[in-house]
């Protein structure tokens, strides 16, 4: 990858990475640091990473950095636990988008990241598996479980028409 191609990646992918990291970490500063680390890693390994694989490389770095930060902050919770506490939650949101965001934040970090990679970036199960290190089946199971949790939250709050 040439410096010009690297700069194209910065211009074309930095916003996507930042959105993903920000939604995953719910922290602007952490998200900025993670994006900078991802691009620093890409620059260091630019000779080994072709331009067409830069996107998955950057998201892999960003995903793993986000997971490391989550583990360090001990914020990871189990999905089943989320499903259990949803019925007891009684804090209606102002609109559907905010409620969905709140529901996303109730998910465990891995499921949340899978949903973000799927919905924000449109990756397939196979691509998400390569980024996250999970198998395609695991991705499918975790994603379906996350969808059910989100739906249950939305239905319980009667934000779904």
């Amino acid at each position: 990858m040439t410096p010009a191609e690297y700069n194209n990646c910065v211009k074309g992918l930095s916003d996507n990475l930042y959105r993903f990291a920000w939604k995953s970490l719910a922290d602007k500063e952490y998200a900025r640091d993670v994006v900078q680390m991802a691009f620093a890693a890409l620059w260091e390994q630019r000779r080994e990473v072709p331009e067409e694989k830069a996107r998955s490389f950057l998201f892999t770095i960003t995903y793993r950095k986000c997971m490391d930060l989550h583990r360090s902050k001990r914020k990871t919770v189990d999905t089943s636990y989320v499903e259990e506490i949803i019925p007891t939650e009684n804090r209606p949101g102002s609109d559907l988008k905010k409620t969905l965001e709140r529901a996303l934040n109730r998910l465990d970090e891995q499921s949340k990241n899978l949903v973000l990679l799927k919905d924000y970036e449109g990756y397939s199960y196979d691509e998400i598996g390569k980024i996250t290190g999970l198998s395609e089946t695991q991705v499918k199971v975790y994603l379906h479980r996350a969808r059910k949790a989100l739906r249950n939250y939305l239905v319980s709050r009667e934000y779904v028409i």
Partner: protein, 266 residues
């Protein structure tokens, strides 16, 4: 795959995740059209799709940009560099051998001049040697001798080119006037040739390794005799200079008129 109430939810989830192909998607929509009781399930899952917020942008992307300098691939010029290095090596080698071939050697010249001239060796025979010697226009040269190589070296190189050397007879020694004549105020006779010889640069020091060179020509008896005479002259001049220095040390005044000096004793 046949759709039924057991797998409809999974198929809806795959449809939401865009993992169904066109045919499977159309089959699912047709099934829901026929079974409208599943439409709320489909719509509820459609609301779980998180839409990216386009207003969120990374404002510090300029700090991540790298200067797009034009890289010069060194490997592409490897052959050019190799050729340049080869040419430079050849030129350096040629210059070195030419220098070795034309390196100056000690040649006894006129004893009165105390100068060392590079040996003139001409490889084309007597005529060329004569021309070359004439072209030098040595004002003090009186005799030209062309000598083949002698000794073992000449035997080894029997068909080698003759070596021309210029041997000049030493002029008669011109003695400096006795220093005693200068003890009293008077004229000090100075040999101008000797002074010029003293001012001349020192003779080249020839390393012993030079004798191992293929075209080395040792000095003959005439050369050695000329050198001995030369050294005697140098020693004589040295003694005279020392005496003159001691004399001038005691002199109160020294008057110089051209090459002559008049010393007045204190």
């Amino acid at each position: 795959m046949e759709l039924n109430k057991e797998n409809i939810e999974e198929q809806i989830l795959l449809y939401i995740d865009a993992e169904l192909d066109t045919e499977a998607s159309q089959r699912l929509l047709d099934y829901i059209e026929l079974h409208p009781e599943y439409r709320p399930l489909l719509e509820s899952y459609q609301h779980t799709i998180a839409l990216p917020e386009e207003e969120i942008v990374f404002e510090e992307k300029d700090s991540l940009l790298q200067p797009a300098t034009k890289a010069i691939p060194f490997s592409g010029h490897k052959m050019t560099w190799a050729r340049a290095a080869s040419i430079a090596l050849l030129i350096a080698s040629a210059a070195f051998f030419l220098y070795r071939k034309n390196a100056p050697t000690v040649q006894p010249q006129m004893a009165g001049q105390l100068s060392v001239q590079p040996q003139n060796r001409i490889a084309a025979g007597e005529d060329l040697a004569e021309q070359a010697l004439a072209s030098r226009k040595e004002p003090m040269a009186t005799q030209h001798n062309i000598r083949p190589r002698s000794g073992t070296t000449a035997k080894k190189t029997e068909h080698a080119e003759p070596v021309v050397s210029q041997i000049t007879e030493a002029p008669p020694v011109q003695h400096i006037a006795a220093i005693e004549t200068c003890r009293q105020p008077g004229l000090i006779e100075t040999n101008i040739t000797v002074v010029a010889a003293i001012a001349a640069p020192p003779p080249l020091i020839i390393a012993p390794e030079r004798s191992k060179l293929p075209e080395w020509m040792p000095l003959n008896d005439e050369h050695i005799a000329a050198f001995d005479e030369l050294l005697a002259q140098v020693q004589h001049v040295k003694e005279q200079v020392q005496q003159k220095a001691s004399l001038l040390k005691d002199a109160g005044w020294v008057i110089r008129i051209g090459p002559k000096e008049i010393a007045l004793k204190k």
